[in-house]
Amino acid sequence: MTEQAPPTPGQWPLWEIFIRSRNGLDHKHCGSVHAPDATMALQMARDVYTRRMEGVSIWAVRADHIHASDPDAKAEMFDPADDKIYRHPTFYKLPDEVDYI
C-alpha cells in the first residue's frame, strides 16, 4: 500500500466519520467531512450526520491515516477464497430445535 498524498495546501483535511446508532451496536462508516482538527470534525459530523437521531456516538479518523487495500490487487487478495466453500461452516447437520445459526 502506498502512502496517501498529504492534504492539499489551503484545504482542510478530510475526516472519515463513523457513527454508532445505538448502544451495543458497532460504529459504522457513514461518510466524511472536511474540518481543521479533530474537535471540529466531531462537531461537523454531529451537524451533518446526526440531525435526525441517527447516533449516540461518533468517531472521526483522519482519512490519510486509513490504509486501504489496493483495488488492483483484488485478484490475489480475495479471489482465492472463491472455491474454498469448505471454510464456511455449512456442512454440519443441525437439530431442528437450534435456532439462529
Binding site: 482542510w12 467531512v33 472536511h34 474540518a35 481543521p36 482538527d37 474537535t39 471540529m40 462537531q43 461537523m44 454531529r46 451537524d47 451533518v48 440531525r51
Partner: protein
C-alpha cells in the same frame, strides 16, 4: 399564575418573555441568512441547524406568550404582524452578519448569556417556562461550544482571522451592556419567581466569556457609556429591513400557510 387575564402581572410576564423570544427569533433569522452561503458545506449545515434551534426556542416562548396574552393572537401574528417598535429583542442580535467572524462571535457572546438565562429559568415558578428553559439549555450548550471553538481558532489563528475577530469584538462589545442593564420588568419578574433579573447574570456570563476571549488572544474592549435599547423597542436601522424580508409573506398573503 393567571393565564388568561390581561392584568398587570400577565402584561409584565408577556414583556419579559418577548425579550427572550424576540432575541432568539431575530438572531435565528440572521443566522439563517448563511444558509447556502456558509464557508464550507459542513459549517453551512451547522449554522442552519443553529438557526432552526433558535427559531424553535422562539416558537415555544411565543406559544407561551399567546396563552398569557389571552387576546387570541397566535405565534405567527406575534412574529409576522408586529411592527418594529413592538419587538423587544436586544439590539445586538439584529445587527448584520457582516462576516463569519462576527457571526460566530455574536453567537458566542449572546448564546453564553442565553445559557445562563436558561439555567436560571429552569427553576422558574412557571412550570411551562421552566420546561422550555430546560429543553433549550441543551441546544444552547451546543451553540456555545461550537461558537467558542470557532472564536478560539479564528482569534488565535492567522493574522487575517485574528484581525477580523478583534474588529468584531470591538464592534459588538458595546452592545453587550444592554444585556445587563437594570430594568423594572426584570425586577418584577425576579420578585415574583417567574423569571430572573438579567443584570444578576453578568458575573456568570463574564466568567464564561472572558477566559475564552483571553485564550483566543483577543483584547477585551473597555466598557463605554453607550447603551443600546432594543429591549425597550428602540432599534437600530437594521431591524426594519430584516423584518421587511421576514414578514413579507404574511403581509402580502395574510393567513397563508404551507
Amino acid at each position: 399564575m393567571k393565564s388568561t387575564t390581561s392584568d398587570g402581572a400577565a402584561i409584565a410576564q408577556v414583556d419579559y418573555l418577548l425579550r427572550i423570544a424576540d432575541s432568539t427569533l431575530i438572531l435565528g433569522q440572521r443566522v439563517s441568512e448563511w444558509c447556502g452561503h456558509g464557508p464550507i458545506l459542513e459549517e453551512d449545515i451547522a449554522l442552519a441547524n443553529t438557526a432552526l434551534d433558535m427559531i424553535g426556542q422562539a416558537r415555544l416562548l411565543l406559544g407561551h406568550v399567546c396563552k398569557l396574552d389571552g387576546r387570541g393572537r397566535d405565534e405567527d401574528q406575534f412574529a409576522f404582524l408586529r411592527a418594529e417598535g413592538e419587538f423587544r429583542n436586544v439590539t445586538m442580535v439584529e445587527l448584520p452578519n457582516y462576516d463569519f467572524a462576527r457571526t460566530v462571535l455574536r453567537n458566542f457572546l449572546f448564546c453564553s448569556f442565553l445559557l445562563r438565562l436558561w439555567q436560571a429559568l429552569s427553576a422558574s415558578r412557571d412550570a411551562e417556562l421552566a420546561a422550555i428553559a430546560a429543553k433549550s439549555l441543551k441546544e444552547t450548550r451546543y451553540h456555545v461550544r461550537h461558537a467558542a471553538d470557532w472564536t478560539l481558532r479564528l482569534g488565535d489563528g492567522t493574522d487575517e482571522s485574528r484581525l477580523r475577530m478583534q474588529t468584531a469584538l470591538d464592534d459588538l462589545w458595546p452592545y453587550t451592556a444592554e444585556l445587563f442593564a437594570p430594568s423594572t420588568e426584570d425586577d418584577a419578574a425576579a420578585d415574583s419567581g417567574f423569571g430572573v433579573a438579567w443584570s444578576s447574570l453578568q458575573a456568570l456570563w463574564e466568567a464564561g466569556v472572558l477566559p475564552v476571549l483571553a485564550d483566543a488572544t483577543l483584547r477585551s474592549p473597555v466598557p463605554g457609556a453607550f447603551l443600546s435599547r432594543g429591549k425597550n423597542g428602540i432599534h437600530s436601522e437594521h431591524l426594519g429591513r430584516l423584518l421587511a424580508e421576514m414578514q413579507f409573506l404574511q403581509r402580502a398573503y395574510p393567513g397563508n400557510t404551507w
